[in-house]
Symmetry: D2
Subunit: 386 residues, 4 copies
């Protein structure tokens, strides 16, 4: 728990300078976290220095709106600046590896959105860079923000405390419907070259990370299936082929002997952003739905049978993870503060010289599971060892 500052850190007493790359959905959400983290948590002081994007005028407007002192269009120049100590990468997946490796080599702490990268090879290079940087006191982290939902952090704690006994089955699904309409247009997210995969990489990655995070174990074998329900979508010059999956299914064997099932979809009509997780153990069970992210259902099977039932815990007590920083009981916080908590943990890791979780290695492990699902899907769902 030594607090030796990274050698490229700010002058003593000065705030850490932050640059964020990307100003769309994720850039907006990360900016919100940087702007608010210090109002709620005790973290090293930070300064929102630069927001980086491709279009000069748009990124300048976004910078003003989201609280950044400046904007820029060339991430390489920004990474080279002495007053930047943290690089937060919200750019699309195909840029992750290049930016993250360059930033780590330049001695910047790096937070990168999930998934770690679009390919296994890129992910492995990023892990190498992160390891080398870590030896020099530079931290890195991949942004599986749902680990910071207080209800899920509390779920992990209950499992770790043995309240579920031996975990046997996990059901994880992540259902959305933004592609349910088959006239929804073609985008870069629906091309394999740019997106890597579809629902699999985008949202199954979250589900898989949760399975491993909640149970503290790893996937050892997978059987998977991918499907594209709407094969062609309108582009500017007519219908184009969708080359990624709309939906994915998998069963996962875990190192502990538990079995998890995964189902993700972008065409599940009526489900807006429904990450649901159920965990069944020998002594209890849990259920969670991101559409009610302030609640956790818990069943204690050690109680008399007559008294058992899934109890709806409103996760807003001071004793719940992260919640003492916010409002009195019963006052819900929003989805966006998963990012606030993420930035807090990242900054605490930097301050204490300790690897914040999830590390790039953990991000790589998720990528390996995703790759195995693709491999199994291409082989008629035949199970693949990891």
């Amino acid at each position: 728990m030594t607090a030796e500052p990274p050698h490229t850190g700010p002058k003593p007493g000065s705030p850490l300078g932050v640059a964020a790359i990307g100003y769309a959905f994720m850039g907006k959400a990360h900016s919100n976290a940087w702007r608010n983290v210090a109002a709620f948590f005790d973290v090293p002081a930070v300064e929102q220095k630069v927001l980086v994007g491709r279009h000069a005028q748009e990124v300048a407007e976004a910078a003003t709106r989201y609280g950044w002192a400046e904007s820029a269009t060339d991430w390489r120049e920004v990474i080279a600046r002495d007053d930047i100590h943290i690089v937060d990468i919200c750019a699309p997946g195909w840029l992750h590896a290049e930016i993250a490796i360059a930033a780590l080599e330049a001695g910047k702490h790096v937070l990168v959105e999930k998934p770690l990268a679009n390919t296994l090879a890129e992910s492995e290079h990023m892990v190498e860079a992160a390891r080398a940087a870590r030896d020099r006191g530079i931290q890195s982290m991949v942004g599986f923000n749902y680990r910071r939902v207080p209800a899920l952090a509390y779920a992990r704690q209950l499992i770790a405390d043995g309240r579920l006994g031996t975990v046997r089955e996990i059901r994880a699904s992540y259902l959305q419907d933004w592609l349910a309409d088959d006239s929804a247009p073609m985008t870069w997210r629906l091309r394999k070259e740019t997106a890597g995969s579809g629902a699999l990489g985008d949202i199954a990655s979250h589900a898989i990370d949760q399975v491993q995070y909640l149970t503290g174990t790893t996937v050892t074998e997978v059987s998977g299936r991918l499907h594209t329900f709407v094969g062609r979508r309108p582009g500017p010059d007519g219908l184009e082929d969708v080359t990624v999956d709309d939906a994915a299914w998998a069963t996962l064997s875990l190192a502990t002997g538990a079995v998890a099932s995964i189902e993700v979809s972008r065409v599940a009509t009526g489900r807006k952003n429904s990450l649901r997780i159920e965990v069944y153990g020998s002594a209890g069970a849990l259920a969670f739905d991101l559409e009610r992210l302030g609640e956790l259902e818990f069943l204690d099977a050690t109680a008399p049978a007559e008294e058992q039932g899934f109890r709806r815990i409103v996760v807003t007590e001071p004793g719940h993870p992260s919640m003492d920083a916010w409002w009195p009981q019963g006052h819900m916080i929003g989805w966006e503060h998963t990012f606030t908590h993420q930035v807090r943990d990242f900054l605490v890791g930097i301050r204490d010289g300790e690897q914040p979780a999830p590390s790039f290695e953990e991000g790589l492990q998720v990528q390996r599971v995703l790759a195995a699902i693709e491999e199994s899907a291409a082989a008629k769902s035949t199970a693949i060892q990891l």
Copy 2:
């Protein structure tokens, strides 16, 4: 627990002969209970002898359909029969007193649908008749069937066991919507002469009985309000005046110092048959909704704050009241079996020579609360002592 048979009972070894009066909604529900009770519970043998109704052909058809050996149109003749030992009164409220008193005087055990009667005076006469009969070993009971919902019986048990600590507040509402459409026609249920009152007598009676049943105490003071939202409804010869309430509200003081609120309505659009009850005590809380009658929500406030939550108990365990007679866990029984349980308890009371609950006295107590609510409503809601 002496098992001395009533002196007017059947010959030893012969079944008790039952007559039911009324073959509409309640007659159908009670018939179902008589037809099925012995398949699930150990009760004295009964025989469905006669179904009584005003229209000869219709009641004959109903008798065949619902499992009765005969039908009849004159309840006085039926009551006089030696082979009838039980009279089950499902006729409208204005007939309750006359039939019940005659049957009790004829030495028949009497089960009467709620409310006990349309007026306090009638109710008092019925209580006198019941007391006199009881001294001769004749039992009587009023049919507040919701006492036999297993989830509510279990709720009472949790409260009696002290699991809620001191009960402070009770919220009871009974919302229906069959009069929400203002073109719904005029009926006898909407005239004061025939119905006594509207939502008040019909459904607030259930809510008030539950308040007293669950907490084991009585109402000592009320403030009430009545309202008719649709004042005129179409009759055969044009619009007629509705002379009973569509909705009623009350606050009730209980002898223990607890306070209950009551709200009932027949114009609560979208609520089909929603008797909801919440009980808040110093150490726990309960919530119930008749639209999910197989569930009870229970919160144990003695658990650590982080672990508290309303738990949804699926009330189908063998250890739950009445449930060991039915199906394995998780297999729901229907609303109609509140009547099956009611008949079981009535028969057990007859067998054991013990007053089954609720007695006519308890029915009268509910009538007194209803009368006080009417009195308060007529006096600008000023509180009335009972």
Copy 3:
């Protein structure tokens, strides 16, 4: 819709004589249906003639309790009786084929509990017998009782009416927990020789039948997995090997291009009898849970986006399937009346000389899917064509 009576039927005007074989859980549930069906539905008259079981005294007591005129221990003798026109088979699966084929050959209408049989070969013989009998006006039916949950029948109707558009994804799970405790004892249900399979045959059969029933299509390919979490359980002489699955998973391709996922378990702590089904189409979605069997959730995606939401339909309106026979709106019926509706449909089929659904052929189709799941599971989940 000709109403020519089967040649082996009762004398004109006489009731159909029924014999039921088996008096445990299913025998009790089927008896309840026979005892009550005519009180609610217009069906040919039936008489509960004989209840058949192995233990003379126990079956005699059960017969009395459940409303049967007689009891017997030899099903062959009963099948031979002239006054028996219907044979209802509630015996364990390994007896289905022998009894059903003998009864059909004897000219009796046959209702057999699901699954159709323990093996594919037996199932195929039963189908042959059913076809031959059908040509002689003898009807047969397999008891997938959940088709008669009004909410699921209504779901099928909404799908058939196009309210969901093109169905794409179905999620079906059936979770129970009666084996969650690893000290639960060994039984015949946990041995492959007697039970055929575990959760797969017992409850996945229901889920698979629902997938096909709701969508009106058939499974064409499966990938499956089986798992036994508790491999040894206490028998009378010490621990014994469990030789069937505790849980099963599958993905199913349907002939229409839809994909279904199945997950079933007997160790899902806290889930008592939770058959959950979600159906996602291009224009709407449905969700159902057997633990709330009187409700159906429906989302109409053709409404304006702001107004969309899963609506909780309380399936108790007169216009809902089977519900006009029961109680007013908002009054729930229980799980047991899925069997009452089943018997009604069986009797109507007999009366009208039309094959009631599901036929033995449909039962065989489910068996084929189950067999393919087993085959896939034995081959590392590799997909199997049907």
Copy 4:
């Protein structure tokens, strides 16, 4: 919709200077709104100038943490500053009148937390001051923040659009449990001199404002009741008398003929912050619970009976009030952004020279209802005209 700036406004192009008075719970929540409003909404530029509190060191720390440039201890000095254009009053209720009137007279726009004041007399003086200021282009607003819950704003819109037909009944309850433990200590909130009233002023005020806000009408008559369940609580020198109510009940007549019921409590064990509202109209119904503040239940009674049901609308669509500023569908915002929306509307009112709602007059109207409830409660619940 003229945009003439207030004569005491900032120099053209300069931001409006804001001072907030109070840095406890409400001060923290309001600060969060000021810090973030411009990141999401197009509003006049603001600067968080001064945070004011009694304790110099604590308020200085809070100012730093919550994003204020300075702190101060004397609100009179702050109000006198030329660079302050907006005064946001988060101090306890007994200070509202003095500060608000002084600030308005000094030409500052004033936002004051609810309830408007502790007494009717103070409230009336505040209204006079607000009217005088309004004539000079100075705006004022009372902070009933729950009007800015998007689900409730959408509810109001559905009602205004006639989707509920004629509103007949409203059930509003606000249940908390922070006083359920009778060893919870004495505070200023439990003394009549400092708090004015208990649950009534604190949370019934929200419920009453919602009743009027949602229906667009006003209360004309009330019957009320107050109760203190725990009469003495531990102070520093032993038990002290609690002189305010723990719970309150009322029925309200509305000008349109609708009737509302109110129940509020601080001893409703297990309810953390549960403002629940149900609205029943002739053509539809709504239900809301603050513990699930991102959802609204809506029933459209003009649909066929079979298709009716309360639909759970996830209020995160771009077309829902305020939601286009935030995240994609299905991503929930937290309770705190009711204040962000409130500040937005306040700033838009200032910019456009239009009275933002709710005005001080509306705040006074709520106070009058509260006073009438107290009067009725003191007169045995006898109804009081407003």
